[in-house]
């Protein structure tokens, strides 16, 4: 019996996919490396025939040990239970793989692998995982089919042992040749039906009911809040900042209902930070938000929150914000209206910050209308007195007072000194802020890598930045400028959020894709004209803006797919379901309605009185036309039957009447020339005896004139090529052969001349 050789390689690939999926969802690279190494080693040993299964006893002991370990981990360790259980499943798979000896082990492996993928499915929304899952499911279908065949074959071998010599070699060859193709066909069929069912269940299975009835699902990864978006932003120890390119949000923006197509740089504000200093308990220098949290407001899709009025410029933003595990919402400056997609409670501060009550552990969708005007309202809390700041941050104050930093007037006097002397807000504020911004942008370099710098110790990082490093990341730039402005008496605050430009714009879905790496800090300074935005971060050594090349397009495509996948698959909910059902229902209703309207219109058209005469005339024409059509149809049918009858007769004359019908008709059409040859010879009283093959018959005609004999020989050779060689004669060739037979007729009819 044929051995199902395809099963083991498919199983190995399936296991690798399953473990890769879990590792991808949980970002467990170490686990993946170990598991893959073990699987590949096992596959290699199996391939070279040196695999020896582990004893059952040993496998059971290892499994018991693993169970105890898992129990301990679940009770004591802080690791998420899903991770522990997933690791256990991976471990069990490895044990089973090395224990493999019977079909039940294979079955257990398949189930363990599927469970692993289930655990991963519950914990990731990645497009790549989705693609991997689809591949995995297809392969698992194939594996299951092969496994069923294998187990049935093994059972049959055990129950009905057949010696090898009794097995038909032809059947074995056939299995070897056609089984893979058959399996592919059946897998395709199963996959088609299964996908259809999956889509239906996915679309129509009631959502929301029964959620969490077995307890809340633990996330596979411990949620890490988005770095830098809290009420307190600490300048870390001097180190390398590793940027993450994970997608944070998709933002679609309209300016006065005109879609912005990547031409605008967006500053999506998050929080403002207004006080710099050391933390109360600890020695970390940090920016702190001192604005008290306002009371929350309930918002619903049907009840938008009106924050402000009278905005002439309307910047409408549709934001799909991925779980950031912080409470910060992002929007352009000057929000006037907030419309959530799902009910949520938010807090809105006077500095324009939008926050939720709880950290965002799930994706949220909202729409914000902004005026892009920061206004001129007071900061919700008073800034620290400049005198105190000067005392506390004297080096920073001295740096700010430098004429090359804060600028000079036309008389060469330092603007900073003038501002300090004046002690109140003036037109100088905007000028000073612009000068500081310009100075920092021109003389300082941007970097994320500060590992080479000496340890700060107790030193203020902003001082180190201004005097020693002369380079840093956006928070240092913004922090330094804010502190310099505040020390000069300006009202300034640091803003953290995201900065997106044309490079972030995806033309496929007309959205800005916001990544983790787009996080940014900038400065807002109050001038007599209101709050103004300044971005002091240097462009020196900044990464070049990506070009619009193939790579960018590919990146945009991936982002577009990620967004579509996340929107259509991961975020599909009861609301989507209702809208799908409603749109289908509406479509059906409108189709029925349009149909009935069209029918009514047709009736009206046909039975309107003034065209009754036309209708009568038309009816006669129509009847005639229909009769004509019936005649044509009958003629076609008659011709078809006549043709078949002729072909049958021809097949009988040639001697191919016993062939299957399609083959018989095909050959009867192709061998028309031979039939005509036989009929011609019959007219000349030469008949082929029933026992003669065509070749024998042609050779027996040596008494004919040489040309005729030669023609008959050639026609007979052609007959064999068509009849047995599978040759096809085109219509032109058939016509040519008919003329050859006609010429043969002339030759045979010519009186013989004596030699």
């Amino acid at each position: 019996m044929y051995d199902i050789r395809q099963f083991k390689p498919a199983l190995f690939v399936l296991l690798l996919l399953g473990i890769s999926g879990f590792a991808m969802a949980g970002q467990l690279l170490g686990l993946w490396l170990v598991a893959v190494a073990f699987i590949l080693l096992n596959a290699w040993l199996v391939a070279i025939g040196r695999f020896r299964p582990m004893s059952r006893l040993l496998a059971n002991l290892i499994t018991i040990g693993a169970v105890l370990y898992v129990a301990r981990e679940l009770m004591i360790s802080q690791t998420a239970p899903v991770v522990v259980v997933g690791q256990f499943l991976v471990f069990l798979q490895l044990v089973k793989l090395w224990e493999l000896r019977a079909n039940r082990d294979y079955a257990q492996l398949l189930i363990l692998s599927l469970l692993l993928m289930v655990a991963a499915s519950m914990n990731t929304a990645s497009l790549w995982f989705g693609l991997l899952l689809v591949t995995y499911l297809f392969l698992s279908l194939y594996c299951c089919l092969l496994f069923h065949l294998k187990s049935e074959t093994d059972l049959a071998k055990a129950a009905m042992p057949v010696p090898a010599e009794k097995i038909s070699p032809g059947t074995l060859r056939q299995d070897q040749r056609y089984l893979p193709r058959s399996m592919r066909r059946l897998t395709g069929l199963v996959a088609m039906v299964a996908i259809g069912a999956a889509v239906l269940v996915f679309l129509l299975f009631p959502r929301g009911t029964g959620a969490g009835f077995l307890g809340p699902m633990q996330p596979l990864r411990t949620a890490a809040p988005l770095t830098g978006f809290s009420d307190q932003v600490t300048f870390q120890d001097v180190a390398r900042i590793t940027q993450s390119h994970e997608t944070i949000a998709f933002v679609k923006v309209w300016h006065n209902e005109q879609l912005i197509e990547g031409t605008q740089t967006l500053y999506l504000r998050g929080l403002t930070l207004d006080r710099y200093g050391k933390q109360e308990r600890g020695d970390m220098w940090s920016w702190t938000r001192t604005v008290p949290a306002p009371s929350p407001v309930q918002t619903r899709p049907t009840e938008p929150l009106e924050i402000g009025t009278g905005a002439t410029d309307r910047w409408r933003q549709q934001v799909a914000l991925w779980p950031t595990h912080t409470d910060v919402l992002f929007a352009l400056a000057g929000p006037v209206e907030f419309i959530p997609r799902q009910p949520m409670k938010i807090r809105h501060s006077a500095d324009g910050a939008l926050q939720t009550i709880l950290p965002l552990n799930e994706r949220v969708d909202y729409e914000v209308v902004s005026s892009d005007d920061l206004g001129n309202a007071d900061h919700p809390v008073e800034f620290r007195a400049p005198q105190l700041l000067r005392m506390e941050f004297d080096p920073v104050y001295k740096f700010a007072r430098r004429p090359e930093v804060s600028g000079t007037d036309e008389n060469g006097r330092s603007l900073a000194d003038e501002r300090v002397t004046a002690g109140k807000m003036s037109d100088l504020d905007g000028q000073i802020a612009a000068n500081i911004e310009q100075y920092l942008r021109a003389h300082f370099a941007y970097t994320l890598d500060l590992t080479d710098e000496s340890k700060l110790g107790d030193r203020n990082p902003i001082e180190a930045f201004l005097y020693d490093w002369k380079k840093g990341h956006c928070e240092l730039f913004a922090g330094a400028m804010t502190l310099m402005c505040q020390s000069l008496g300006l009202e300034a605050r640091m803003v953290i959020g995201f900065k997106c430009d044309g490079a972030n714009f995806n033309t496929l879905n007309d959205q800005y894709t916001v990544h983790d790496s787009d996080a940014h800090a900038w400065v807002e300074v109050r001038t007599p004209d209101g709050w103004k935005t300044y971005d002091p971060t240097s462009a020196i050594d900044a990464p070049a803006a990506p070009k619009t090349g193939l790579w960018t397009r590919a990146k945009h495509l991936v982002e577009y797919l990620e967004y579509t996948y996340a929107n259509a698959v991961i975020a599909y909910d009861a609301q989507n379901q209702n809208s799908v059902v409603a749109s289908v229902e509406a479509g059906l209703t409108s189709t029925a309605s349009r149909g009935s309207t069209a029918w009514a219109e047709l009736q009206d058209f046909l039975f309107v009185e003034h065209i009754v005469g036309f209708w009568n005339a038309s009816a006669a024409i129509l009847t005639g036309f229909m009769l004509l059509m019936i005649l044509v149809l009958a003629g076609a049918l008659g011709w078809f039957l006549w043709e078949r009858w002729r072909l049958r007769r021809r097949a009988a004359r040639i001697g191919i009447e016993t062939l299957p019908e399609p083959e018989r008709f095909r050959l009867a059409r192709q061998l028309r020339f031979y039939d005509e040859l036989l009929r011609l010879l019959r007219r000349h009283r030469i008949t082929r005896p029933a026992h003669c093959t065509p070749l024998e018959f042609s050779q027996s005609l040596a008494f004919l004139p040489a040309d005729a004999y030669d023609t008959i020989q050639r026609l007979t050779t052609l007959f064999y090529k068509v009849r047995y060689g599978g040759a096809e004669l085109p219509t032109a060739r058939q016509r040519q052969l008919a003329s050859v037979v006609d010429r043969l007729n002339d030759e045979l009819a010519r009186p013989q001349t004596e030699p």
């Binding site: 019996m1 044929y2 599927l114 993928m117 289930v118 499915s121 519950m122 989705g130 899952l133 499911l137 299951c144 089919l145 069923h148 065949l149 049935e152 074959t153 059972l155 049959a156 129950a159 009905m160 042992p161 057949v162 009794k166 097995i167 038909s168 032809g170 059947t171 056939q174 299995d175 040749r177 056609y178 089984l179 058959s182 066909r185 059946l186 069929l189 199963v190 039906v193 299964a194 996908i195 259809g196 069912a197 999956a198 889509v199 239906l200 269940v201 996915f202 299975f205 959502r207 929301g208 029964g210 959620a211 969490g212 009835f213 077995l214 307890g215 699902m217 698959v569 991961i570 599909y572």
Partner: protein, 412 residues
């Protein structure tokens, strides 16, 4: 697994799991369709061997043709529903794969346990492909018969020597015309005779062509008489009769292989007397008669001896197989040199060595089984032990109907 997936999907509300759950439902649905598809347009042609012998395995070949244009058939088991009582196990075969528009042939090895003519009619094609959730079966009819010969034993050479012994048969070798050995006589030359054998001197004298006839060696002849009279229909009685028949078949086969001419006389519905001769066809005729011997509760040994006179010519050694322990002197066999072999005698056991697994208690055709055995079999079936003999998981499931609906017994 599907239930688990459904619970996981509902509990977590993870859309991917809803998709996987739907996929599983789809697989369940498609299982039924595919198993039906697998069995559609399958034609099974059974090829039986000409005959079999109790205790010796024979191969039944099934040629499965898949007439579908596109879809293959996989994992189909074929099981015979009729005639199973002739074999130690139910005849069944497993076909892994038949590609569309091709034919695959699969063998089934069976060991016959009852002699006689057995009819195989209905066979069941069953599959649980693709996932084993649904098992479907269809029943087809294709009538074939198979003749099972009685079990054959290894015959001791001493017995053969006794059969050809001069003491019993007179002469070991008897001259007959038609050979090339010694001069036998003359005859008229006929066209077609070998011209080398023309007796020219005699021809010249007589004026007509005459040719010489030479002798050929004629081997000894034996006539096998089988007493099948069964006084009481006990299992032991049946077993002894079957043993006699099996010994007769074994001796006939072995003697024919040793180029002895063998005849047979036995009651087979009427008195059958095959004169001693040789050849494969004759062997088949004799074994066929022995295989189909009916139940004999009327015709006693005396009648057999009367009936066998036509085959007992001079130079023929009669060998009588009887289930009874008969004294030689009691019969005229002593006078005629008859060799009497009581089936149960120790000497018979020495002469005939049967395979260990031959059970003479179940060797008779099913319609001749003793009432006690029929009762016992019925009780065994009632207690559900009938499957012990069959091949476990691959036994044809009688609860799968021809229509493929489980739970409805297949109609015969």
């Amino acid at each position: 697994m599907m239930l688990f997936m459904g619970l996981a999907a509902i509990n977590s509300q993870a859309n991917l799991l809803f998709g996987v759950f739907g996929l599983m439902i789809g697989i369940l649905i498609v299982s039924g369709t595919i198993s039906r598809l697998v069995l559609r347009r399958l034609t099974v042609h059974r090829t039986l061997p000409e005959n079999g012998c109790v205790g010796q395995s024979v191969s039944i070949t099934y040629e499965v043709s898949n007439d579908k244009r596109y879809w293959p058939s996989l994992s189909v088991s074929i099981a015979e529903l009729d005639g199973g009582q002739a074999f130690t196990t139910q005849p069944q075969a497993y076909m892994l794969h038949v590609a569309p528009r091709t034919t695959a042939s699969v063998p089934a090895l069976v060991i016959p346990k009852r002699r006689g003519l057995h009819e195989l009619d209905r066979h069941q094609l069953a599959t649980s492909f693709p996932f084993g959730f649904v098992k479907r079966a269809i029943t087809e009819r294709h009538k074939d018969v198979m003749l099972i010969h009685p079990p054959r034993a290894r015959v001791d050479s001493k017995l053969l020597r006794r059969c050809r012994s001069a003491d019993v048969t007179g002469e070991t070798v008897r001259p007959r015309p038609g050979g090339t050995d010694e001069f036998y006589g003359v005859k008229d030359y006929r066209p077609g005779d070998n011209p080398r054998w023309i007796y020219w001197r005699r021809s010249a004298r007589s004026g007509t062509l005459v040719s010489k006839e030479m002798t050929r060696v004629s081997p000894p002849r034996i006539a096998i008489l089988v007493d099948t009279f069964l006084a009481s229909r006990s299992v032991a009685g049946h077993a002894t009769v079957e043993q006699s028949i099996a010994m007769a078949a074994s001796l006939a086969t072995t003697a024919l292989e040793a180029e002895l001419a063998v005849g047979l006389c036995v009651w087979s519905g009427h008195w059958v007397a095959l004169p001693p001769t040789r050849g494969k066809r004759h062997r088949d005729d004799m074994l066929s008669v022995l295989a189909r011997l009916p139940l004999n509760t009327e015709h006693r040994l005396e009648e057999l001896l009367d009936a066998c006179r036509s085959v007992l010519h001079a130079g023929t050694t009669p060998v009588l197989f009887t289930p009874r322990d008969i004294q030689v002197g009691n019969l005229e066999s002593g006078r005629t040199g008859m060799l009497i072999i009581p089936a149960g005698s120790p000497r018979a056991r020495n002469w005939f060595t049967f395979p260990d697994d031959v059970d003479f208690g179940t060797c008779m055709p099913p319609d001749q089984a003793p009432p006690e055995q029929i009762r016992r079999d019925a009780e065994t079936r009632r207690h559900g032990d009938a499957g012990k003999e069959s091949a476990g998981a691959f036994e044809a499931d009688p609860l799968v109907s021809a229509s493929g609906r489980p739970g409805v017994p297949a109609s015969p």
